[in-house]
Symmetry: C2
Subunit: 201 residues, 2 copies
Amino acid sequence: MRKKRTNDPEGMRRRVLDVAEDSFQAHGYHASSLGDLMAAAGITGGALHHHFPTKKALALAVIEERVAAAVEETWIAPMRAAPSAREGVRSVFEAVATELEQQGFVRGCPLNNLAHELSLADPDFRSALADIFAGWRQTLADKIRADQLAGGEAGTDPERFAALTVAAYSGAMSMAKAAQDASILRQCLEGLERVEPRPPT
Amino acid sequence: MRKKRTNDPEGMRRRVLDVAEDSFQAHGYHASSLGDLMAAAGITGGALHHHFPTKKALALAVIEERVAAAVEETWIAPMRAAPSAREGVRSVFEAVATELEQQGFVRGCPLNNLAHELSLADPDFRSALADIFAGWRQTLADKIRADQLAGGEAGTDPERFAALTVAAYSGAMSMAKAAQDASILRQCLEGLERVEPRPPT
DNA sequence: CTCAAAACAGGATGATCATCCTGTTTATAA
DNA sequence: TTATAAACAGGATGATCATCCTGTTTTGAG
């Protein structure tokens, strides 16, 4: 009689989020069935229902914990650590492009993928996704302001720079996903680097 | 005994595409059930199956006929008619922003909406969507080349300009959809207009 | 130790969905 | 007119899906 079951609520919750994040990115929210997720995570219906009563609750957790963390890791932290806004943008674009080229296929931007499918589906989804976009732009705008305090970027509007950078990245990832070709990212970066390049007068 | 049924295959096909295009944009492909579409179009299962044997066939028709036409109408035709590439881009951005502000909500870019949900779902979807993106960029690049033949845009790389413009628009629409606020479109346009603004040396 | 709550198991359920099938009606060509 | 295919009707079907429910095991507080 092997009666050994170790309760590990945190670990089980993490495994569910792992497979949900992966499946939502690979197939989307609606195309991911809870049955598939349960099989992939190796858990039962009771356990899944215990941690996430509804599919919506699961998706909200993926957005707030995983998608936000992905943006934090890919964009926010590198930008804060960068010597300047422009150098940060360049290094993030190139890092992502290089990573995509190495792995050979393009899954798209985690935030954009879910934003397109879920923004209109539910107000809770929409506001969670919009908040991540806003924080992303905020970080970029703050970096421009820091550059300006250091004497650079005169004449660059922080919010405008942030909006264009995030838009260009998101759109470039959209095209890269559709074309399954990451090179468009580098093309867009080259264009971005020619925005307001004139020195302060 | 009113026995009057007028066969109108073209009209019926058009009505199906009308409701499918609308529903795919509003709720997405997977969240649109054929039952809902049949009810909205006022047709029977037999008729739907006759014109579109599978849901995939219906979506492919929506992409190739409706989404491509939307890009043609919104971007390609106005760009060809514009006096210059930059003026064309400006007028399209402003026209879309104004239209979105008037209708009060943002559904997103038809191409991007389906591209995100379907690019990884099926190779046929992906290539149809990628072709539309490519044609869009081609039109923009051709316009820059025309400007160059007319003596302007020296130093502007046509493909780079096209890629950044499409990316910025797509990404701006993504954010506008998530935020339900079209103003970010104008912000991105202002940024775009500061790309390579220096005169030829 | 006791016991209540949390964690997990596993199946039931009702709804929904895409597809298919058998007919019937309409249009077209010979 | 007649034959043939296209156009359309309407229901059947089997699969799938999210949620819920009843029960069992584990954990920790008192």
